[in-house]
């Protein structure tokens, strides 16, 4: 199994918190798509296994008109051996119409990821989202009506304008529409974003940590009650509704990223495309490589393994550590030890985060990280 990720770096509006690679100048959509298609033909031998998942991310891929989407899929079809079980399209509620839904259906897109973020008007305004609350609700209703059973929405918590009641209401809407999959993210204040700037200048006062944690706890408890499984720190699924594409990332499967800023992984190295639309177009035109490569050392792979796996419900598997990274087995055991009990639950075969541990995932991760020049 292997995955293909296609980055569509365009958005109608810049959300205040967002540090993804995107452009709000839509002029070069055609040129970027054209370049992506060229890149597809060049990278056709990158993946050694059949492609089981395709993911259109962004930016806002729902901005693309159907013919462009179709042309990308056709190009993929002709250059890869496809055995797709899941084709996901990220969309913003304001792009969703019955017409588009029908067309996406026709193209074989079988999963939609809708950027809802909140069902409250004032949150959307504050975030500078391109849609309103009514569109958020409608997009879900319509998608379900159009037969998109496989649906996920993004929600954000942990920002200053979100009250406990409002969060509860958001989760109630989720329940009402029986949305099978959710990605719930804590608001992250990134530098070089509008929100980052507001924070620096004191215009925005971040939600106190204790309250953000209370919200996270509430989400975990409420979604558990609703029958979701928190199969990754930020991802919740009803039984059998996990995202295949993303799960593959966490299983260490290979993937090819296409488009400006996209990342790829072939098992031993990662590469990432230049995150600049114009430069990307130009390099493709000139037949130049658009990416930088990083060869992963054993240490790098060990670090990635513990980093990614700790976030998942399966946790870190002892046998895997022993087999894949025998040199670091003892190091891992020693360094995870202080967390066992309160933050990490140890079973026969694995180490998994406890409810408390999930709040300090990064701290635990960096504790078991191996860095050079360390005497162990």
């Amino acid at each position: 199994m292997a995955g293909i990720y296609i980055h569509i770096p365009f958005c109608k509006k810049a959300c205040h918190y967002c540090n993804f690679h995107f452009s709000t100048s839509l002029k070069s959509i055609d040129a970027v798509v054209q370049s992506i298609k060229t890149e597809i033909s060049k990278q056709s031998s990158y993946l050694k296994e059949p492609v089981t998942t395709i993911y259109f991310g962004g930016g806002t891929p729902s901005i693309l008109n159907t013919s462009l989407l179709e042309s990308i899929l056709a190009k993929l079809e002709s250059h890869f051996s496809l055995a797709t079980e899941e084709i996901t399209l990220e969309c913003n509620p304001d792009d969703i119409t019955f017409e588009k839904l029908a067309e996406w259906n026709r193209l074989g897109i079988n999963r939609l990821s809708i950027g809802v973020q909140s069902f409250h008007e004032h949150h959307l305004t504050w975030m500078n989202r391109s849609h309103n609350a009514e569109q958020s609700i409608n997009s879900i209703k319509w998608a379900q009506k159009a037969g998109f059973e496989n649906l996920t929405i993004d929600l954000i918590f942990g920002f200053a304008g979100l009250s406990k009641t409002e969060l509860k209401e958001n989760l109630r809407v989720v329940q009402k529409y029986a949305i099978p999959h959710l990605s719930v993210y804590g608001m992250t204040i990134e530098p070089k974003t509008a929100l980052g700037h507001q924070t620096k200048t004191g215009q925005y006062l971040p939600l106190p940590e204790a309250e953000a944690n209370a919200q996270m706890l509430m989400i975990m408890e409420e979604l558990d009650r609703q029958g979701y499984e928190q199969y990754e720190i930020s991802n919740y699924a009803m039984p059998k509704k996990r995202a295949l594409h993303n799960s593959n990332y966490w299983q260490g499967a290979t993937y090819l990223g296409l488009g400006p800023g996209a990342h790829s992984f072939n098992g031993t190295s990662r590469h990432w495309n230049i995150a600049n639309n114009q430069k990307y177009i130009k390099l493709i035109q000139q037949g130049q490589p658009v990416y930088e490569v990083e060869q992963l050392s054993t240490i790098d792979r060990y670090n990635e393994y513990v980093m990614i796996r700790l976030r998942t419900i399966e946790g870190i598997n002892l046998d895997q550590i022993e087999n894949l990274f025998p040199a670091y087995f003892n190091y891992f055991i020693q360094n995870i030890r202080p967390f066992i009990g309160k933050h990490v639950q140890k079973t026969e075969s694995s180490y998994r985060l406890t409810q408390k541990g999930k709040f300090i995932t990064d701290l635990i991760t960096s504790a078991v990280f191996k860095v050079n020049r360390e005497s162990d």
Partner: protein, 599 residues
């Protein structure tokens, strides 16, 4: 060889920034001792550090040939003096090598404490003083006021004060003439046994230690067998010579002259400033008076940031010691910081200079522990010994009493700052012993102060409360009985030896509180609560708590996030590696470096 009557030996007394270096350059330039092409600004300060700070740390000497209008050529030996409080002994030896001094005062700033104490030293040594108002071209120059100050201070005629500007070159000619006319020629007996004063030394990696001397009696020749009287050692004078921009070897140097000697000595410890050079065969009957074996006054631990750099640090300290004999060190081990050295310094500036030179010249970043002065401990068993580190303080039960060093501190300031400066010094356990108006606008305050109290904070505070209008100088006086306690800092119950300090009993509370609250801002939160405590013996006198870290989780970790996130966490982890583990608590290097800084 030049007749003695045509030699003039002089130094320049000036406060930092009063333009000594620039004016010295002008003297060299005008007499073609140095060509404009060779001219680096501030030719006499050849260490980077000195140039930047504008202070001469180690003195040098340079010979100037000057053709005076009387038709004769004179040899003018300019002997440079270090410009900081910590080096007062070295200053006194440079002064002892001269017959005259240029008193250089910035016309816009007036006289400062440092200038005054050095001036008194010069007057004590009967030097002829040539007062010079410098920077008279500046708009802010207060020529009359500052002239009055000078007249008050040395009792000269106003007409004797020269006016100059190092920047424009104004007055430089007059200065050269005044040196010839006013400063007496050296006296001494060329036939008497050799008697020369070492006023400075320097380490040269290729040639060993070079000693600078001034001959009071007799003659020295290359190849002579010489004895360093106080050190009690004999050597061969492999090379002697005079000091131009570079050393210039010569066969023989006579009474009144200034020169250098190379004997093959490899360690600067063997050459002591203030020592007397004489002949082994025909020694002088007594050494030149005023010799002192300078003892370090301030001690602190210096530790490598990375334990692996311990040997490198030792090498670097040894190299520094080669040209700075006043630096002493011995190995020290700390549970918190690993292997390092207990180092002794002349004072706080000396400590800072060493720290900076380690960083600049040897690329060694170090952690310096809380400095302390050296105390004298008397035990109940009747023993007495010096204490250089908190851990050496005997147990209360074994301790009879402790003595601590005192200083006489001179502060010159404007009258409006007397009140705040008094408060500062009182707070530092000081007693005002003298208040003296130099002019209407300049007052000199003399305090009796424990040296320990100026070890940290004092300069900075003095500067800030006086808005820079206070200058400071001190001289050690005596050891006196004191009430000393050892203050321990504990993290979750574990003592951090590197943060222990010796403090006066009355200061323990304030100091303990300050360290605790400072640490609170410097320690990162961890997954558990951290208790910071200050303790004297078993008694906790201050406490702070750092709450547990409760949230540290990245929102997204998909295909495109993996590399970035891994690197971010790796970086964090590397930062952690720079931390020291105290029990279960991780302490960043920064905490040790910054714990004493003012908020």
């Amino acid at each position: 060889m030049h007749p003695m009557k045509n030699i003039r030996n002089f130094c320049v007394i000036a406060h930092i920034d009063h333009g000594k270096s620039t004016l010295s350059d002008r003297l060299l330039e005008m007499t073609s001792t140095i060509s404009a092409r060779e001219m680096q600004n501030q030719a006499l300060d050849d260490m980077d550090l000195e140039r930047e700070r504008g202070i001469t740390i180690k003195s040098h000497a340079i010979q100037i040939k000057y053709a005076h209008s009387d038709g004769e050529t004179y040899t003018l030996n300019l002997i440079d003096t270090p410009g900081h409080v910590d080096f007062s002994y070295e200053v006194s030896r440079s002064i002892a090598a001269c017959e005259g001094a240029l008193l250089l005062v910035d016309a816009s700033q007036g006289i400062q404490a440092q200038t005054i104490s050095n001036l008194y030293l010069a007057i004590e040594h009967d030097l002829e003083i040539i007062p010079i108002l410098n920077k008279v071209d500046m708009e802010s120059a207060m020529i009359e006021d500052v002239s009055d100050q000078i007249v008050d201070l040395i009792g000269c005629d106003p007409e004797e004060i020269l006016q100059a500007s190092g920047k424009t070159g104004q007055g430089v000619q007059e200065i050269l003439d005044a040196i010839v006319l006013r400063i007496p020629a050296p006296q001494g007996d060329p036939q008497a046994p050799l008697q020369a004063l070492i006023f400075d030394s320097m380490f040269n990696p290729f040639r060993g230690v070079i000693a600078y001397f001034r001959i009071f009696n007799g003659t020295i020749n290359t190849g002579d067998r010489v004895r360093f009287v106080n050190a009690g050692k004999e050597y061969e004078a492999n090379e002697i010579g005079i000091l131009k921009m570079k050393e210039e070897p010569c066969k023989s140097l006579g009474t009144g002259n200034v020169g250098y000697i190379i004997t093959g000595i490899k360690e600067s410890k063997e050459i002591k400033v203030g020592d007397t050079i004489t002949h082994a065969e025909r020694p002088c009957s007594k050494s030149i008076k005023g010799f002192e074996d300078v003892k370090p006054m301030v001690f602190a631990g210096i530790f490598p940031i990375d334990n692996e750099d311990y040997e490198d640090l030792r090498d670097s300290l040894e190299k520094l010691q080669l040209n700075d004999a006043s630096l002493v060190f011995e190995p020290e081990t700390s549970a918190a910081l690993g292997f390092g050295f207990r180092c002794g310094f002349l004072g706080m500036l000396h400590l800072e200079i060493i720290q900076e030179r380690l960083s600049r010249e040897f690329d060694q970043e170090v952690i310096t522990t809380i400095p302390n002065v050296s105390y004298y401990a008397h035990t109940t068993a009747g023993e007495n010994f010096m204490i250089h580190t908190p851990n050496d303080l005997p147990d209360v039960s074994a301790l009879n009493y402790v003595e601590e060093p005192y200083i006489e501190a001179q502060i010159i300031t404007k009258p409006e700052y007397i009140g705040t400066i008094m408060n500062l010094c009182l707070d530092k356990r000081g007693v005002l012993t003298k208040q003296h108006y130099l002019t209407q606008d300049r007052v000199e305050l003399t305090f009796d102060l424990p040296l320990a109290e100026i070890v940290f904070d004092f300069y900075d505070k003095l500067k800030s409360i006086s808005r820079g209008y206070a200058s400071f100088d001190y001289a050690p006086t005596e050891y006196r009985r004191s009430q000393l306690v050892k203050l321990d800092i504990k993290l979750n119950g574990e003592s951090v030896d590197a943060l222990s300090a010796l403090v006066h009993k009355d200061k323990a509370y304030a100091f303990g509180r300050r360290i605790c609250s400072r640490l609170k801002t410097l320690l990162p939160r961890q997954q558990f609560v951290i208790a910071i405590q200050a303790a004297v013996g078993a008694k906790i006198i201050a406490r702070e708590t750092i709450s547990a870290l409760r949230k540290d989780v990245t929102a997204k970790c998909y295909g495109g996030d993996i590399s970035r996130k891994r690197k971010l966490l790796e970086k964090q982890k590397k930062g952690k590696k720079k931390m020291r583990q105290i029990g279960s608590v991780e302490v960043p290097q920064k905490a040790f470096l910054e714990v004493l800084k003012l908020e």
